[in-house]
Amino acid sequence: MSVGTFTADAPELRTVAVAGWRDAVSETLASGRRFTSLHALAETGDATVRALFDGDQPLLLSCRSVHATVPSIIDIVPAATWDEREAHDLYGVRFEGHTPLRPLVRHSPTLDDWVVPVHGHNPYDVAVGPIHAGVIESGHFRFHLVGERILHLDLRLFYKHRGLEKAAEGVNDREAIHFVGRACAADHVAHTLAYAQAIESARGLWPSAGLSDTRTFLVELERVWNHLNDVAAMCAGIGFAAGNMAFAALKERAQRLNDDLAGHRFLFDTVAVGESPFHLDRSDRDRARAILRELRADTAMLWRELLFNSSFQARLGDVGVVDKSVAVQLGMVGPAARASGHAVDAREASPRLSYGAFQGAHPRERTGDVRARLEMRALELDDSFTILDDLAARDLSGGPAHAHGSSSAIGASTVESARGASTCIVELAGENVQRLRLRTSSYANWPAVPTALVGNLLPDFPLINKSFELCYACVDR
């Protein structure tokens, strides 16, 4: 594994007229690029809408709205549905053809404004939240049921909207990372890393091998505690207390290691633009390696216990199924996408990090159910332990990013967080951030949760929900 050579990876900005917007998007998809994110810009007069597509050099299509209206692309790119709803709510852009254009961030007191109409023989609603029965983030779920079976789920998130992106506008590019970091504790490293790399791509900076190795170590360390948490949460979703507690204990050990190495149980403030505030000396690395090896052995042993527990296993199969076609259509990311056979792992295309020829894992059977999503956690844990063991033998003393290319006003970067690809886009004015867009893995995958629920039993909702283990905080921002 090694860091890649310099690539000019600041996105290419291509401006198109409103009349050519849909064609430009279709042609970009036909060229093999995948949709990554859509955002709007507040400008005097009509707002501008921009859509990012992946690639060694990503492509940012841009279109100035006319009378604050742009043709919708959600029939071509269903994954952009939430992005358009958000741009409408926060920037007043109207999307022609997106009907009904339901509110997403703004909460309407009128139920009909945001709930899908359901008709039939005795359907009824179960409304849950925003405050839930457990220690869970705030969000509202409205289940439409027939008996115990789920017909449809309407989600209403954004109870935790703090306006972090807007608050970062006008802030110096080295300081604005704190707004990204505050979006969510669980994916703090992945998000701040996406931000730092986005700024570096705009500034023409490329990480030294030491910086790249150190950052890769951090983001894999974050994956370990998250995946251990997810396995514990799925055991809880089944009501299997022994499994829940055993994996909660492993998570605690992983978080204690974080604290030992970085002085913070969630690795806060370990990533910065152009340098690394986090570094390990030889004795730290040796200790980390020894602790991670113990953790790996215990994880493998307890995972086997779950495999041999037949009543636990009986709850997993054919529950909460997402078909591959749906996963592709919705632009799902991460272990949940790979569980359905949608082969996307941002680590395979991260030349700024030390993944080399890494290939993302896949379950034995890509069934897209709770079983496959659970198995993904075990497979990825094993991969992460291997990567960490390898990196712990290297120099993790940080290092600089060097100037290689020319500077540009726009930067973007995608990092594979524990839940999948999270993308950060920055538009700069001099030293300051003019527009920040953080489109997280949870944002990408939440729309898949209602599709996974259709036809399942309401009592399986906690389990299905935990098999995605999505964050609310970094969606709401």
Binding site: I131, A133, K160, L164, A242, M245, A248, A249, F266
Partner: protein, 154 residues
């Protein structure tokens, strides 16, 4: 299953969390008023085998109707202020309010002022302050035990 249980028994012996100052019982209800999810993770960890505060009579309950203490995380957002007030009103008296984490205490909050109401103190009377970003499970436990001990014993 045997291995799982044996392992848990071993953790409990190793963890050896100190006993609280006195035997007590408090029912805790959590409300997320806009946190980054860090305080939620640490609050969940309080129930993990390394801490397991249920041993000492501290339990997280499903409804504010069952609760003695309302544990609130996050800088209160405009969208969470009403649900938060309703949860408080649903509690029986006597009741305590705990502000969990720096955001709830109004320290170093990031975001747009138009989306935030501000610290918990601006919405409800706060009895227990638990600083930290986020506070570690042991700090959460210590603060709640402190509140559980009557002031004459403190």
């Amino acid at each position: 299953m045997f291995v799982l249980l044996k392992k848990l028994q071993q953790i409990r012996a190793d963890a050896a969390t100190g006993a609280p100052p006195r035997r007590t019982s408090l029912a805790l209800r959590h409300v997320d008023a806009g946190s980054c999810n860090g305080c939620e993770h640490e609050l969940q960890n309080v129930s993990s085998p390394y801490y397991d505060l249920a041993r000492f009579g501290l339990s997280l309950v499903a409804s504010p109707r069952h609760a003695d203490v309302l544990l609130i995380t996050g800088p209160v957002t405009t969208r969470m202020v009403e649900p938060l007030k309703r949860a408080y009103e649903a509690m029986p008296e006597p009741r305590l309010v705990a502000a969990l984490g720096n955001c709830a205490l109004g320290c170093n909050v990031l975001g747009q002022s138009s989306e935030l109401v501000g610290s918990v103190e601006r919405v409800l009377p706060v009895d227990i302050r638990i600083p930290g970003c986020p506070p570690a499970p042991a700090a959460i436990a210590a603060a709640i035990f402190g509140a559980a001990a009557p002031s004459s014993d403190a």
